[in-house]
């Protein structure tokens, strides 16, 4: 029985044993991701002329790169971005880990509440969630109204458009991304290990520190890496809660590319953003590896 070519092709695709079914996706990823990244890289080392949204000429130049690396504005902006992202990561760990621990020890309904409260924000627009903080922290917002009504303050506090407003917003917006990988680890956690630990004399804190924490380093690393990447490269939160005077690297790219149309500068900033982000992520990965060395011992 000989089968027609299209038929054999279909079989090949359905069995999924060859690279075949992935080819369209690979082509799209090459054209829409890999090539653009290569171009972005080349633009970082170029002098370009843009006319009506089209790049008409591109010449090799290190001018923008060297300018950026020596520009004090760049230094302060990136320093600020880094501080902000690391602070956000720190607070997300501080608030996220307890949620994951509550998930571990909680009854089924507690687990369900945690899942809903964690996943719902991920499905909600970041702008909406940031906007909520304008309402809460604004001059006539929730916090000020409550404090005024209680007579604790006589004039509204200036909370919005400060660094703390940006940090609070960032932590809230990125907290779910910290919690989810931790929950994934916790739902696989073998509770008998905790019982064994208690049986051997450990208090609950002792078990948390000696058993639960070491076994969830992987989730902690994943969550921290995600939170760092997102908060290091977001411009929504600083833009809306920082009131325009709180520039981070991402808002800088936005202004250079969309407003002042300095594309070469924008390309350089994007490249610095990506490479510094990568360096921090590598440090995170190295730290996570240290904590999970036991998973890579030779299996028998």
């Amino acid at each position: 029985m000989t089968r027609s070519l299209p038929r054999r092709l279909l079989d090949e695709i359905l069995s999924g044993s060859g690279i075949w079914p992935a080819v369209p996706a690979i082509v799209v990823l090459l054209v829409v991701a890999v090539i653009p990244f290569a171009i972005l890289l080349s633009l970082g080392f170029s002098e370009i002329t843009v006319a009506r949204g089209v790049i008409v000429s591109q010449d090799f130049s290190l001018r923008y790169l060297t300018t950026a690396l020596t520009d004090p504005l760049y230094h302060t902006t990136f320093q600020r971005s880094l501080t902000l992202a690391l602070m956000t990561t720190f607070f997300c760990v501080l608030l996220g880990y307890p949620v994951a621990y509550l998930f571990l020890i909680g009854k089924p309904w507690v687990r369900r509440v945690i899942l809903v409260l964690t996943i719902a924000p991920i499905l909600t627009s970041g702008i909406v969630r940031t906007y909520a903080w304008i309402i809460i922290l604004g001059g006539r917002g929730v916090v000020n109204s409550v404090l005024l009504d209680l007579g604790l303050i006589s004039a509204p506090l200036r909370i919005i458009n400060t660094q703390w407003a940006v940090v609070i917003g960032m932590v809230q917006v990125h907290l779910p991304v910290m919690i989810l990988p931790l929950i994934a680890v916790m739902s696989r956690h073998d509770r008998r290990l905790d019982e064994a630990s208690a049986n051997l004399g450990a208090s609950r804190l002792g078990t948390l520190w000696n058993v639960v924490l070491p076994l969830s380093i992987g989730g902690l690393g994943t969550g921290a890496a995600l939170v760092f990447t997102l908060s290091y490269t977001t411009f929504v939160v600083p833009q809306l809660l920082g009131g325009g005077n709180y520039l981070n690297a991402a808002t800088m790219i936005y202004e250079q590319v969309v407003y002042s149309l300095e594309w070469s500068k924008g390309a350089v900033t994007a490249l610095i953003l990506m490479s510094t982000c990568l360096i921090v992520l590598l440090i995170f990965a190295w730290l996570t590896n240290l904590g999970t060395r036991w998973t890579r011992v030779a299996q028998r």
């Binding site: 279909l10 359905l14 999924g16 060859g18 690279i19 075949w20 992935a22 996706a25 799209v28 990823l29 829409v32 991701a33 990244f37 171009i39 972005l40 949204g53 089209v54 501080l94 608030l95 996220g96 307890p98 949620v99 621990y101 509550l102 687990r111 809903v116 409260l117 964690t118 996943i119 499905l123 909600t124 627009s125 970041g126 702008i127 969630r129 906007y131 909520a132 309402i135 006539r140 929730v142 109204s145 932590v171 809230q172 907290l175 779910p176 919690i179 989810l180 929950i183 804190l205 997102l230 490269t233 977001t234 929504v236 809306l240 991402a250 590319v257 994007a270 953003l273 990506m274 982000c277």
Partner: protein, 272 residues
């Protein structure tokens, strides 16, 4: 029982109490902002001030009678649909190849498709904008859709892969043994079993297409301004409950998505 015994026990309870308290604070922090946005959207006053002075649905009426907002919503829905369709068409076969593939580099492929989602969205947006400019392709709803599809395809691939990996290969072998052709097996066994995962993946990709700002802001068409771009502008420039009403509509959408996900793959499988 000695006093040392009691103190250690007390200290332990205190420590666990602090941790649980932190968790409750974190959970409240996750819930409160959305709740406040919804509450403020019913305020009768023309500016945001807490607590609300009355109850009205006027702002919702206004949202759906502002051509700019309605158009932006329609554009974003379109983008969401395009992104979802692209992700299904490209992502599901890729997941099949990644899990079932016995060719060299199957593992490398599964890593490769996940990379765009790990790159900051803003960097991908800028890169696509520049690459387009080099070849004379300007920002448009199409550029936006294909960039977003590239960005979030990883989510679809991962969700479907997770389901495929749990799928018992014996089911397909049983189907073949009972006389089904490959196509019949795919249509009657594999596809129905993958459907929940595809649906859940579709919810995520639709939401990303609808809500994404970091990639969108560099790639969207100037005439087809999508909702997030419009929203960013009005949040920055107006202080009326209108914004709260638009936001509440989005929160409602998120709740719907949550419902679909919990019915398809279940909430506890989301982080796979």
């Amino acid at each position: 029982m000695t006093t040392g015994f009691h103190r250690a026990e007390l200290l332990d309870r205190l420590g666990i109490g602090v941790i649980v308290a932190l968790a409750v604070i974190a959970l409240a922090l996750l819930l409160l902002p959305a709740a406040i946005v919804v509450i403020m959207s019913f305020d009768t006053r023309g500016y945001i001030s807490f607590p609300p002075a009355g109850f009205t649905l006027d702002w919702y009426y206004k949202v759906f009678n502002q051509p700019v907002l309605v158009n932006a919503m329609l554009t974003s829905i379109k983008v969401g649909v395009y992104v979802t369709l692209l992700c299904i068409a490209l992502g599901v076969p890729t997941a099949l190849a990644c899990v079932r593939g016995d060719f060299r580099g199957a593992t490398a492929l599964s890593v490769f498709v996940l990379v765009p989602h790990m790159v900051p969205g803003i960097v991908l947006g800028v890169a696509v904008l520049f690459a387009g400019a080099l070849f004379g392709i300007g920002p448009s709803i199409w550029l936006q859709s294909i960039s977003l599809a590239t960005y979030v395809m990883a989510v679809m691939v991962r969700t479907v892969m997770a389901r495929l990996q749990r799928l018992d290969p014996l089911l397909e072998q049983a189907s073949a043994n009972l006389g089904a052709t490959r196509w019949q097996t795919f249509r009657t066994v594999t596809l129905p079993l993958l459907l929940p995962a595809i649906l859940a993946g579709a919810v995520f990709t639709f939401i990303e297409g609808f809500d994404n700002l970091s990639v969108t802001i560099f790639t969207h068409g100037y005439r087809d301004r999508p909702l997030p771009v419009e929203l960013l502008a009005i949040v920055q420039n107006t202080n009326s409950p209108l914004v709260a009403a638009v936001s509440s509509v989005q929160i409602l959408l998120a709740m719907l998505a949550l419902g679909v996900i919990s019915l398809t793959i279940g909430l506890d499988r989301v982080n796979e």
